[in-house]
Symmetry: C2
């Protein structure tokens, strides 16, 4: 599904050089349920942005389903992202002037997807699945932090994309909401083969992953596949 | 230090009435180290905003050090906040055009505080204490999520205010950074008598609190003082 081959993301140069990601090689296969863990500042968001085509490496290559993305035009990259990737941002990035259900519907429209029952019905179901069925018409500034995070989650999942990238999706959730969201994602993974790549500090997410890639100082430090689950 | 007396915060009316906080009575004494816990959407941020004078109740009263705040002018409220309260926001709210150290210095300037060694030295020390000594000159968009959260923490602590209000201060931190921040706060509490009121979903924070106020549907559901600690 996605491969990083000695991919680096540098900022600045010389004295101010920061290696946010440092020659990271990582291969994500179809159907994986994989977590990136590691200390604050270790490069998790940077790697997720490279995998999700939100950023370009300063060195090395990123390939999606075999195609090296360095050769694609901006238009082709945007197309690929909208159609194949659902991204849950560390800071949500909801559209402030749209309601929760409109935010989720927008994702379907941008991806050119019209579900059988219509976009509004699919968006409503996605929000019900994360416990927000009563809050469809609220705008982001009328929602709590954890409610906003759950709208961002519904927006990524509603497309049932090839790959969902989730940057700390339970950071603002109590354990019950967090577990509900993770179970929803495991179901999508097991029933519809959606590939998941998370970053997290949450032990509950780590224990539900089938593979844990531990990062440190912009590099992959350890890569562990769980024997069960 | 702070008292809520049947304080409510309502949005909308009639059919759309939302009781974000519902007749909450809560008294925070000087020197407390208290956590508000509860599900996503239960009213924690709403209550913290009332205690921190960022919001006004639609019913009931909020008093700071004995003075009912409903009687104070906007100017007096702003003065009181800047001088006595350090607020760590759930979404950080850093000034985008200022560096980390400038963001922290600004808090001292706004409070009219000039520490003995100067504002720059105090701001530098506050950032070193949260592990960001190497990143003083970075702007918020050049920092990871957890690094931004730690700048927001340093900014609130540097004033050694009467009361620090922290809305999910460890949400984006790995367990090591989170523990370091909590130990820093316990030290300020025990050595300098700073009062702390947190909201959190993090079990590590809850177990370090001396009092846990559990919220549910905008109301105080349970109020437990730890026998030890
Ligand atoms: N624009 C930039 N300029 C310089 N350094 C940057 C920039 N953006 C990010 N960094 C640095 O890159 C490193 C990795 O950042 P990243 O956001 O990937 O960390 P993270 O693992 O997601 O952390 P967290 O758990 O705190 O979210 C950090 O040390 C950060 O300070
Ligand atoms: N402007 C608003 N209009 C209507 N309802 C609102 C508004 N702002 C907040 N609410 C509602 O008030 C309730 C309490 O919100 P609050 O942000 O205090 O929750 P919280 O406990 O901090 O949640 P979280 O753990 O997710 O951050 C939520 O149900 C939220 O949807
Ligand atoms: Mg991050
Ligand atoms: Mg909140």
């Amino acid at each position: 599904i996605c491969q990083l081959d000695h991919a680096s993301r540098h900022y600045g140069s010389g004295e101010t050089l920061v290696k946010a990601a440092d020659a990271v090689s990582l291969s994500i296969e179809a159907g994986e349920f994989t977590v990136l863990s590691g200390p604050s500042g270790s490069g998790k968001t940077t790697v997720l942005n490279l995998v999700g085509l939100l950023d370009q490496p300063t060195d090395g290559t990123v390939s999606i389903q075999g195609t090296a993305t360095g050769t694609l035009s901006d238009r082709a990259l945007t197309q690929l992202r909208a159609a194949s990737i659902g991204f849950i941002y560390q800071s949500f990035n909801l559209v402030p002037v749209l309601s929760a259900v409109e935010n989720v519907e927008l994702a379907l429209n941008l991806a050119g997807i019209t579900p059988p029952g219509g976009a509004r019905a699919a968006a409503t179901k996605a929000l019900e699945d994360v416990g927000l069925g009563e809050l469809l018409h609220r705008r982001p500034n009328q929602l709590s932090g954890g409610q906003q995070q759950r709208v961002a989650i519904a927006r990524a999942l509603v497309k049932a994309p090839v790959l969902v990238i989730a940057d700390e999706p339970t950071a603002n959730l109590d354990s019950q909401s967090g577990t509900r969201v993770l179970d929803l994602m495991r179901a999508l993974n097991e029933e519809r083969g959606v590939t998941f790549l998370f970053s997290t500090h949450d032990p509950m997410v780590i224990e539900r992953a089938r593979r844990v890639v531990h990062m440190k100082d912009g590099r992959v430090h350890e890569d562990i596949r769980a024997s069960s689950g």
